[in-house]
Symmetry: C2
Subunit: 224 residues, 2 copies
Amino acid sequence: MGHNGRRRIPEATVARLPLYYRSLIDCNERDLATVSSDQLAELAGVNAAKVRKDLSYLGSYGTRGVGYDVEYLLHEISRELGLTQDWPCVIVGAGNLGAALANYRGFGARGFRIVGLVDDASDKVGQTVGELTVEPMHTLANMVNERSISIGIIATPASAAQPVADALISAGIRSVLNFAPAVISVPPNVSVRKVDLATELQILSFYQLRGLTSGPALVVDRPA
Amino acid sequence: MGHNGRRRIPEATVARLPLYYRSLIDCNERDLATVSSDQLAELAGVNAAKVRKDLSYLGSYGTRGVGYDVEYLLHEISRELGLTQDWPCVIVGAGNLGAALANYRGFGARGFRIVGLVDDASDKVGQTVGELTVEPMHTLANMVNERSISIGIIATPASAAQPVADALISAGIRSVLNFAPAVISVPPNVSVRKVDLATELQILSFYQLRGLTSGPALVVDRPA
DNA sequence: GCCTGTGAACCTTTTCACAGCA
DNA sequence: TGCTGTGAAAAGGTTCACAGGC
């Protein structure tokens, strides 16, 4: 089984694990017992060498000549990603985006439940969004504590992003998903991921402008 | 001025240009005439060496001992990103997410106007969302043509993503932003960027689980 | 024969460090 | 002196290609 055991998993690999996870769920629903790196690659939209390399960082979970046991690999990846446990989330900002996120049934369901929705605008506080009621900012620290919230989602305008981040962090949050189009500064023990719609569109426009394509874009193979 | 002239801009650099763009807008609003790579780095949340390298791919637009002229650099980056022109977009999927995106005033405004909202559900068609009316799928090809749409935004459930992508592409779209949690296959002359909330949360959960932080996360420097 | 696991080659990206110009 | 522009070094990520077990 080579040197394997406890090597540090590269960031690029971590970023692809959710992709494999989703692909394996697919396999499972189609009652496949095993998958090859080729099949998994196709489902995940990457190439087979990458799949094998990535999975090898987790351990030697495949069988030569056969492939990977779907259930088993699914279990291992879930464990690595922490999807066997619950991650209560709070959304700050109950505007269009915040409300949509609160209602969104696409959080891979597993684990990431929205348990709080916060906004400071007095016309928002008290409103109902799905099963949540909008609560005022000053309740944040208590909320995080009482509901064991571990992830904060920023869905405010850019100008509010930094103060909101500060508030989340001083409430004890150490993982932040930022939808506001602004860079936020955080201490080194806090993770931030950002999702920026304008940025994505601008990248598309760059390539469209030149008749080029972004990425390997080798995600081909459709007949037509 | 070195070898510069028409070197190909690396993808990693392209992905950061929107960040610089936004930072420069900030500078402009604060009436700064010039900005150094250090300042720009701080605003964009990257390091100064990267800023200089990135900007050097565009040309030698800085002045040694001084920095970069804000207006001028802003103009150059706008041009590179194609923000001097209009990019009409269509959103497919008028659920929570699609509706939120249609209303979202955070597309960096410039250029990316949503000019169509499409959904196939008969209870959605005809509804009004902001200033848009939901139109049925079969109007897509005409719409793309008549309104010169260049970017398609997929905001459907995962199961619809591939057929919707196919429809967009056969309508002539060559840039796709995919919010559905599914991999879509496209021919090599089409760009796809994806935004996946579940993926982002799972990456956060991976690092939180281990008490680690993703990325360089050196975006520090806040007093406290 | 089939498919994994993995060194080694290769390519991209980041960082360093400093020459060169204002 | 200050800050850019850029070769060169280092790090990180991807792909190749094949040994090795099923």
